[in-house]
Symmetry: C3
Subunit: 349 residues, 3 copies
Amino acid sequence: MPWLKNCWYQVAWGEELSDSASLARTVLDTPLLLFRDAGGAPAILRDTCPHRFAPLSAGRVAGGVVRCNYHGLVFGSDGRCVHNPHGPVTGRMRTTAYPVVERHGAIWVWLGEADAADPALVPDLAFLDRAPPQTSIRGHMPTACNYQLLTDNILDLSHTDYLHPDTLGGMMTGARTTVQEAPGRVAIEWFAADREPSAAYRALLPGGARADKWIEVAWTAPAILVLRTATTAAGVAWREGDLTATVHSMTPETRFTTHYFYNNVRYFRVDDATFHAALGANIFKAFALEDKPMLEMQQARMGTDDLLGLKPLLLPIDSAAIRVRRQLAAMIAAEQDSEPVEVEAPQPA
Amino acid sequence: MPWLKNCWYQVAWGEELSDSASLARTVLDTPLLLFRDAGGAPAILRDTCPHRFAPLSAGRVAGGVVRCNYHGLVFGSDGRCVHNPHGPVTGRMRTTAYPVVERHGAIWVWLGEADAADPALVPDLAFLDRAPPQTSIRGHMPTACNYQLLTDNILDLSHTDYLHPDTLGGMMTGARTTVQEAPGRVAIEWFAADREPSAAYRALLPGGARADKWIEVAWTAPAILVLRTATTAAGVAWREGDLTATVHSMTPETRFTTHYFYNNVRYFRVDDATFHAALGANIFKAFALEDKPMLEMQQARMGTDDLLGLKPLLLPIDSAAIRVRRQLAAMIAAEQDSEPVEVEAPQPA
Amino acid sequence: MPWLKNCWYQVAWGEELSDSASLARTVLDTPLLLFRDAGGAPAILRDTCPHRFAPLSAGRVAGGVVRCNYHGLVFGSDGRCVHNPHGPVTGRMRTTAYPVVERHGAIWVWLGEADAADPALVPDLAFLDRAPPQTSIRGHMPTACNYQLLTDNILDLSHTDYLHPDTLGGMMTGARTTVQEAPGRVAIEWFAADREPSAAYRALLPGGARADKWIEVAWTAPAILVLRTATTAAGVAWREGDLTATVHSMTPETRFTTHYFYNNVRYFRVDDATFHAALGANIFKAFALEDKPMLEMQQARMGTDDLLGLKPLLLPIDSAAIRVRRQLAAMIAAEQDSEPVEVEAPQPA
């Protein structure tokens, strides 16, 4: 499967994993079991007992270890068997433990070469840590499409005018856009001047006022997008306090299903519970009731084909998405080329 | 897929398509969007936006054009983009428009070579136009089997005695049959004399009277069957006024699912609402509750195999169906042989 | 599909087939129709009309014959057509009839070479016939896993301590085991001394008493297991009157689904209706609510791969299961090698 392997993928939000519970989730076709060790740190094991392939997630997690519910083998957070009720523990008794980091409120897993799993490579989402916590709106939305369709969706926000006209959209068509590209990063900036404000942000302006909207979407590999946006009265420059920022973090579950994690924070109306609730409802409507069905229908129409293989009619608004697809394809190709090739030993003549 | 392409397929009944609504329907594995243009004429587009493959049927049809709900491209009834909110319209911005004819109450689509789409080739079902409209009983019944099983079903009406004993059947076993074949046409005539009448037509006769039944089923390619039948008191010759006539129009949705369209009209008891309601109930019972499950079970038993490939035990009652299958197979083979073969240009030496 | 063909498979319990009803069931991917002939003996036909492949089970069974509901052909218990409403009966009008035996309360079918179908080869489960009938607890549990996973499950009862701790388990971990193997037979004996009794058998002992448990599980090909067990007060040798005995009879429906038939009888508390009801509830909980989901999850994790091909971590407790798998694989290979090879006739030069 054409996935980037040597990178961190978000697998959950931290609060999805309590101290006492475990969580089963598939990433890159790999079934994973998440739980917390005795110290509260997250652990991620392959969710399969090596004995008879029962899912460990059907077992019992307690005290930082997991007991398989079929024949009672117990595994620690490093994947090693710590108890075999039927005889001695041997070194072969282990399941795979994956490198894991908890950072920026999220739990990250590394499915590539374990030696390369450098925590410094976790995407920098420190803005989430610094934002007023009471403004946080976040979720996990499983979506039945390839993860790149979700990336494309955020990289072309002109869709908001047509798919989300009553909430987040209505200002983007014809906006001035600038795309910037560097190795490992693509960013697109949008500026729309003097328009009817989007419904979700109308409360920020005096009644009947027209608005400017600024948006920047920045991608980092494999599929992390940070969107920052400000809506101000027309002609008024935005300041930091006008910003809302959202991470859109796409993790492939399978080739045609994706874990879509999102987290929105803001620096205005910080303690306005009414605005907070309305914004949450608008985001839910746009993401779950409008984006998700559209993306799933798009995938259904595409079947098992790749988007570019189907020769879509590309428009200038696709520029950022296409650059991202090209960079990612090159990164995946480079990673695959660099994989150690198994060479068969010469046969005796 | 072994389908006849250069012919008209019924895709809907006209009343399924109001002036304000659209209809999404798949024919020969091709997703179609049906709507009416500003003049009320039906239009059929490929139901896929050429930009990012969103279904146009998820968009909005108004004023004879359809707007994609994902990024707002607007397409006219000829498939050409008539509005691009994000820049100029170019000639490459188009989706496929298919030839369409509305005739005999039905909407017909041509999925083969557009140049060959001659409206004169629409099957002649003018009897539907001339019949008393208040006698019309029609429907669209999606059925999970190959369309040829539905054709076979109508071409061997002996099944009605076993599958529809309480409604339409009971008179056919041992009836005298005559099969006539000409290029592009197969017809089978049935005559059963002096029998207990079928339940659905018992009201036409005096209590306890025995009946004669005459039926003719005529096939035209690819899968249009016109059935005419008269039930009279035993020994009484039928006249035009005794007839009921039904078109059975089978349109492949996919290889193993079919749109079954039917329309029954009659020339007796024209204004008898009680008889009309009872006949409608009998037809619904026979088609939807008896034929459909049997055909779907038959398909399930056959899996992905072809009927003749499975070497069925053929009986004389299969004669018409087998002739139809042979003619159709020859027509499909001829069409495929005549397709322009793509010849690669010679490579420079 | 790697199945042993020349052997008897249980297809139903006798009481599942009343004199007036029929039963459709698939065994080794073969759809079967079961009914009783005029004398009450079970008959098994391929559940497909040879005419147009309608399932005969959708027809009507009466008087020991079955009438297809599509065109009315009637077949007898030997598979031959006994009535063709549309013309003469010929020798080619037949569906396959399979050898069938009703014995030990079960109906057995032979899907291999009919000439080899010796009733003497039906597994000897005469203990079922001799047991007090009021103690019988039996069922048919369709399970979405390969039949060999069900065999493995019974051959390693250590799982009961982890999967059925509240009912049948709790005594097996660390029990002394002995495996005996002979051609066509593998048996494993367990003995656990001086433990807390399993919940299901606690009522057999004085309050608070500790228990010994003896179990023997004996396999015969392809997938018949007889389990005999006795729970006694610690240090007290078991006698015949302490025994409960269960047949576990696994019949493949498809490669990844199985008919699991079980029948438990006992020689104690024979007329104790309260104990009988509690034991039935315990068995249902263990089999249907615990084994079945675990086995189905195990199969889901394995996908379409074979257990041994996935290189499981084998433990000493797997010894009996592995011996059974090896014997069965050898029997299947021998059967396939002995199949007459179709040699093409030499072509005229």
